[in-house]
């Protein structure tokens, strides 16, 4: 393992093959073994091979004694674990980097939403005051455009802020909710749209399903997906939405199936839950909805995904962690 022949290794001192920083530790172990305080010892230690490279080894040492209990020699078994040590180090440093990046990103979102908001609210305030003080100016064709731009800016910042908040305050309080009831409640919330578009909606979630969730997030995710299914309905086809429950491993899963436009997942699958991605030429598609939903469900250690076929429909599956 170290690259020495048997003859060579017997003729060089131990100190030459053990990594200097590990020598002291080694000495203490030997003393403990000799005094009988311990019988054997397993540890990770560094060695230096013939080429001068450092190797990580898993070492098991024990003291061999003769019939009359006198120590004869040490028996050490070494396994080269350099490769797995390297991967371990790589994973840890990747994890650290990711943690740092994530923190920076959240910080950035927070700062951006805060600092931008002070300017956008100034625009809103000034435009409103201008309209009140100089009504003539607001009949200028540029005025309504400026106003819309200012409103859009406000909305974007508002959305950005919501996303930042979901990620920052994941210590929001959990409570037990009845899944069927909150689905019913959200259906009731969009009853005007259900009537307007003559939607056939069925909720077949059993009555006994109780989940530990952050209620505001769970509500928001369900509402978002429901709104999405209606928004992307097919023209001239009666929208049919089926809501049903399924236990998938450790996840209590709520499925929301529609017969709407569907999404080309091959083209857009990886962008679907991204920020500001819209795939339909629908005038009020904002694209933030699903991004926010994904953040909210992930804050509750769940997940969301979709199965879809263009012109056939989509099934959104919301996975709630269920202990």
């Amino acid at each position: 393992m170290l690259g020495y022949s048997e003859k060579e290794i017997l003729n060089i001192p131990r100190e030459a093959v053990i990594f200097p920083n590990d020598l002291k530790k080694d000495k203490i172990i030997f003393e403990k073994l000799l005094s009988g305080e311990i019988k054997n010892h397993i540890d990770e230690k560094r060695y230096i091979n013939k080429n001068g490279d450092v190797l990580w080894c898993l070492v098991s040492v024990s003291l061999i004694k003769n019939d009359i209990n006198q120590p004869i020699h040490f028996l050490a078994q070494k396994i080269n674990i350099t490769e797995s040590k390297k991967s371990e180090y790589k994973i840890n440093s990747l994890l650290e980097t990711t943690k740092k990046q994530n923190k920076r990103l959240l910080n950035f979102a927070h700062i951006v939403s805060h600092n931008l908001r002070s300017h956008s609210s100034n625009f809103t305030m000034l435009l409103k005051m201008m309209q009140e003080e100089y009504p003539k100016l607001s009949s200028n064709p540029y005025y309504p455009l400026l106003k819309v731009a200012s409103e859009n800016l406000n909305e974007t910042i508002e959305n950005l802020n919501q996303v930042a908040l979901v990620n920052i305050s994941s210590n929001e309080s959990y409570s037990k909710i009845n899944l069927r009831n909150i689905v019913e409640k959200n259906i009731a919330n969009i009853s005007t749209q259900i009537i307007e578009h003559n939607v056939d909606i069925t909720n077949s979630v059993p009555e006994h399903i109780k989940l530990n969730v952050i209620p505001a997030y769970a509500n928001s995710v369900i509402l978002n997906v429901l709104l999405n299914t209606i928004k992307y309905r097919k023209e001239n086809v009666k929208p049919v939405i089926k809501i049903y429950f399924e236990q998938v491993g450790k996840y209590a899963t709520l499925n929301i199936k529609d017969n709407g436009l569907g999404i080309d997942l091959e083209k857009n699958g990886d962008k679907l839950f991204g920020m500001y991605k819209t795939f339909h030429k629908n005038k009020d598609s904002r694209g933030l909805g699903l991004f926010l939903s994904k953040n909210q469900i992930e804050a509750m250690e769940g997940k969301i995904n979709v199965n879809s076929k263009v012109d056939v429909g989509s099934t959104f599956s919301i996975y709630f962690r269920d202990e």
């Binding site: 927070h110 805060h114 908001r117 002070s118 609210s121 100034n122 809103t124 305030m125 000034l126 409103k128 005051m129 009140e132 003080e133 508002e158 802020n161 908040l165 305050s169």
Partner: protein
């Protein structure tokens, strides 16, 4: 329209203070406006007013994010000055962070937390409730 004597605006944002002064003038609901661009300036300004026995403001509109001394630090200092406790404070900030709104509730001297933008109607409500 009910009027109050003096309103004090503590904000580092020149556009905002311009707009507030304008709104106050248009709605004709106060005599004077005092403006400070950060907490420290406000504390020493208010102390000077006290010392010279001049008219104190009845109402403070306080921003949170400011250089040198921010809105929170101003509040911590403000509550230690007994003679100022009669002044009503409204926080007027662009922050919509729930943590800021919660924190403001811990200060008895803060009447309300208002998020920008401000308009004539909101300003009138503030003036009326601080009479």
């Amino acid at each position: 329209m009910s009027r109050i004597n003096t309103v004090c605006v503590i904000d580092d944002d020149k556009i905002f203070t311009f707009a507030v002064k304008r709104l106050l003038a248009i709605s004709d609901c106060c005599e004077n406006v005092i403006e400070y661009s950060n907490g420290e300036e406000a504390i020493s300004g208010l102390r000077a007013l006290l010392a010279s026995n001049r008219n104190m403001p009845e109402l403070i509109l306080l921003d949170l994010n400011m250089p040198i001394m921010d809105g929170w630090q101003f509040l911590d200092e403000f509550i230690t000055i007994r003679e100022l406790t009669r002044i009503k404070i409204y926080i007027v900030s662009s922050s919509i962070d729930p943590a800021d709104i919660e924190k403001s509730k811990k200060y008895n001297s803060v009447s309300k937390y208002i998020t920008k933008p401000l308009d004539k109607e909101i300003l009138k409500k503030i003036i009326n409730s601080s009479l």
